[in-house]
Symmetry: C2
DNA sequence: AACGTTTAGCTAAACGTTTCGTCAATGGAA
DNA sequence: TTCCATTGACGAAACGTTTAGCTAAACGTT
């Protein structure tokens, strides 16, 4: 690999001049600039970001840690962050914790070790562990996204999960349903709890007593949700509608519905949190609550950039609003 | 940030001893080792991967470039590569070309600039551009995945795309269909051409003349495919089955089918290349051809590791076999 | 006792940049 | 002419590691 030294030698200038030419900052005469550029071209020189990073103490890398990249919500989040980061001249260092406890701490350490300018993380961790993560990050700016507890002393971007659940449940209830069930997320996650509160609040507002049998815990993944869906369907007092707390569990519930040979929304109405590309391809197209993923990525990156520019105000919590996308998977009870 | 120097001072040893302790290679007496470890702990020291990379010339980073991360095939590929890379002690530097022409070259340059130990790329580029990519990579090992032309002089991991298309088409034909259409991919892509050949070969083997009207070009994305699907459905001589060349276009075609109010497989049979988590959640569950994503990631990483270990044999081409997953979206013609 | 050998640890030189301070040359003001 | 600013380029010192080469002590062998 050619280095600046080689370029300098070929162009008969000093290393400093090559550096100046590349960074464009300092004055370099047009004649020299041309010689340098020609030499760079001839040698196929590419700057060594590692050396540059070592010297300057910055790295044009930003860490991104998500619990499950196969979940379309996170896929789109990664996509959005990647695109916006690239536009700002940063490259994404991807970490996937796969819901594994210690993995998040390790990944933060990794990002730090690679001198990432900052890290955006969507923690799967419990409330207390989030505090540890912030500690591990040290002086590397950390932005928490999605499942961030309010107690976290780091910049935070979340949606109003309670409202998201209410939006979906209100929509279901507007058709006159009284027997409404939910497949909820793992209780140690902040977002799960919020979504469950929202569901229950909506029922209460409509004067409906929530039945314990109608509240099933999933784990935000397919298999458990499918089981939960089947159980609900086989209840003697089968619910006429189900609110599902995320997209992966919606797959599971839809599988259960398909297996049971039920028709949506004739036999049962379905609504879920998380919109995704396949939702309109179903028959009937699925009604969901969309999270403003692009805006979330924007906000997270803005926080990060502002910290990089020396902003040292106390951590802020940015709250974004979800949006109901009405399609055709909800209708009147049978 | 604490450095080795700080640790060394606190533990009253030399920097070299700290380094030796960390790398575990050389002999360090238990007493010193303990002192060093204690100092590390006290200072919250984390090794600077950048400095280490600069000195050692290696970086524990591997590049991964995909054209479209929201496509579940690539999502799962990223997931698999990420997992296996992490297990081998590497971190993934993610690049997304978004099907943009020059982006791939830029991303390869970026990976090189970050001293990635190697890069795995699934090129969207044309055949000739792939040659350029290899050139840009220089001495950084490059492995091409999925859409790699046979002419590429780099290690290559592909599936038998012709066979994949034949598997799906043969399955359709086994129900007695004679009017079979396809929504195919962009013609500049090697995989599109192969899949189209496979489709046509299958028809020929069954003595069916392929109708030009029944062959539609998509672009591997949703919108175009939806349009193509609608056109096919509205043909005076509507096909009784459609073979779709990838998963994103399957979304589009399913949307078209839903819009037209057709029932699958009663009115029309559907089969596609690329399995994905949602396929079994449809009613009816969708029949697809599964690519061995895990094996592909394995093979790509193995190639890379072998190159890192100094293997300088000529580039090899690894061919993996796809697998038909029969569900319920194909049936006899109406 | 003199000599190698082994062990444990240290010193110092890289790695490829950025950047600060220096310096020569030029030119305008006194 | 002398002096000082300005401009354009350079030299050299970092940045935080790794590692080759070295020293010194401890030990076993003759």
């Amino acid at each position: 690999m050619a280095t600046m030294k080689d370029v300098a030698r070929l162009a008969s200038v000093s290393i400093a001049t090559v550096s100046a030419t590349l960074s464009g900052a300092s004055f370099v005469s047009p004649a020299l600039k041309e010689r340098v550029l020609a030499a760079i071209d001839e040698l196929g020189y590419a700057p060594n970001a590692i050396a540059s990073g070592l010297k300057s103490g910055k790295s044009s890398l930003i860490g991104l840690v998500v619990p499950d990249i196969t979940n379309p919500f996170f896929t789109e989040l990664v996509h959005a962050v990647q695109r916006k980061a690239a536009a700002a001249g940063f490259t994404v260092l991807l970490g996937v914790s796969d819901d594994h406890a210690g993995a998040e701490a390790d990944l933060i350490r990794l990002m730090r070790s690679h001198q990432a300018s900052g890290t955006i993380i969507s923690p799967g961790s419990s409330e207390e562990d989030c505090g540890k993560l912030i500690e591990i990050a040290g002086k590397m700016p950390l932005v928490m996204l999605d499942n961030a507890p309010p107690s976290a002393r780091a910049d935070t971007v979340v949606i109003d999960n309670r409202k998201a659940a209410q939006l979906a449940t209100d929509h279901i209830l507007s058709f006159g349903h009284r027997r409404v069930a939910t497949v909820s997320g793992p209780s140690h996650r902040f977002v799960s709890r919020e979504r469950l509160y929202g569901f229950e609040a909506s029922l209460e507002n409509h004067g409906i007593e929530p039945l314990p049998d109608y509240v099933r815990r999933g784990d935000f993944h397919v298999a458990e949700a499918c089981k939960a869906g089947l159980e609900l369907i086989n209840l003697p007092d089968r619910p006429t509608a189900i609110f599902v707390a995320n997209n992966q569990m919606l797959i599971g519930v839809m599988q259960a519905v398909a297996q049971a040979g039920l028709s949506v929304p004739r036999d049962i109405s379905i609504a879920a949190i998380d919109d995704f590309p396949w939702a309109p391809a179903f028959s009937p197209a699925l009604t969901t609550v969309r999270q403003p993923i692009d805006a979330m990525a924007d906000a997270a990156l803005s926080c990060l950039m502002s910290r990089l520019n020396g902003n040292s105000e106390p951590a802020q919590r940015i709250l974004l609003q979800p949006e109901l996308v009405v399609r055709r998977s909800c209708g009147p009870p049978p």
